[in-house]
């Protein structure tokens, strides 16, 4: 499957995956983040149940303390 992660093309050797599986495969370990799929925000308690499919547009935003 091919998806976009922050506007970059990424290819995965599977048909679909959950948000948590994508984070594991990509080794994205920093936990303070926002995930949107095709413009829809996925709350952090939905990372195990939300499926990413071929062609999806995944946007991630990392949140740094300070303000």
């Amino acid at each position: 499957m091919k998806i976009l992660i922050n506007n970059l093309k990424e290819e995965f050797n599977r048909d679909q995956m959950t948000v948590n599986e994508m984070l594991e495969i990509k080794k994205y370990t920093f936990r303070m983040r926002i995930v949107k799929i095709n413009g829809v925000l996925i709350p952090k308690d939905g990372y195990d149940s939300t499926i990413i499919r071929d062609g999806d547009n995944v946007q991630m935003l990392y949140l740094m303390s300070g303000g």
Partner: protein, 196 residues
């Protein structure tokens, strides 16, 4: 648009600011100077001497609620600005009530976990309201790392998206102020493209 038309246009809008620390207080001052009609500010904290390193407060305001001190400071800048303040801790329950009806919302928290909570709540419970997040502004120097990025029509981020505040990398006034003003600048950009 002439300057007088720009100010008249901005006067019709309401901007919500979540947090009245370094980002929120400086952003509110910039919006007030620009003539944004109404600002809604929430924070449960009081002004302490150590906040004066970067926040838009003065030494004689220590001990006051930040929101009330900010209201006082905005009144000195522009008495025509309507300031609605909430001396509360923001939660997933009260955020949709407090910020309903805002045209843009500014995320101005300090802690990353609070930023995450606010973004998730606003995007799910207040659909259609653009949100401008601040992320990454610790330390000093490195002007060129501070930028603004549009994620989609409803979510924007200002900051370097990488530096985290620590003892070695404190939140010094210039970088925090730059990001606060970037957030205000982006809010004006969104509002000036909108009809009302």
């Amino acid at each position: 648009m002439k300057y007088s038309d720009i100010r008249e246009h901005l006067g019709k809008f309401r901007v919500g600011i979540a947090g009245a620390g370094g980002l929120g207080s400086n952003c509110a001052a910039a919006l007030a100077r620009s003539g944004v009609g109404t600002v809604v500010i929430s924070d449960f904290d009081i002004v302490e001497e150590l906040n004066l390193d970067r926040q838009y407060y003065f030494a004689d305001q220590t001990g006051m609620y930040k929101t009330l001190a900010l209201k006082e400071n905005i009144r000195k800048i522009n008495p025509r600005i309507n300031v609605i303040s909430h001396e509360v801790s923001l939660t997933p329950e009260n955020i949709p009530v407090i910020y309903a009806g805002c045209d843009v919302i500014i995320e101005a928290f300090d802690e990353a976990s609070m930023k995450q909570m606010l973004i998730e709540t606003v995007q799910l419970a207040l659909p259609g309201i653009p949100l401008i997040v601040g992320s990454g502004m610790a330390g000093w120097g490195n002007n060129d790392t501070l930028r603004s990025r549009k994620i989609d029509d409803l979510l924007y981020v200002c900051g370097d998206e990488s530096t985290q505040v620590s003892d070695d990398l404190p939140p010094l006034a210039p970088r925090v102020g730059i990001v606060a003003n970037m957030q205000a600048n982006l809010a004006l950009e969104i509002l000036l493209e909108r009809k009302k």
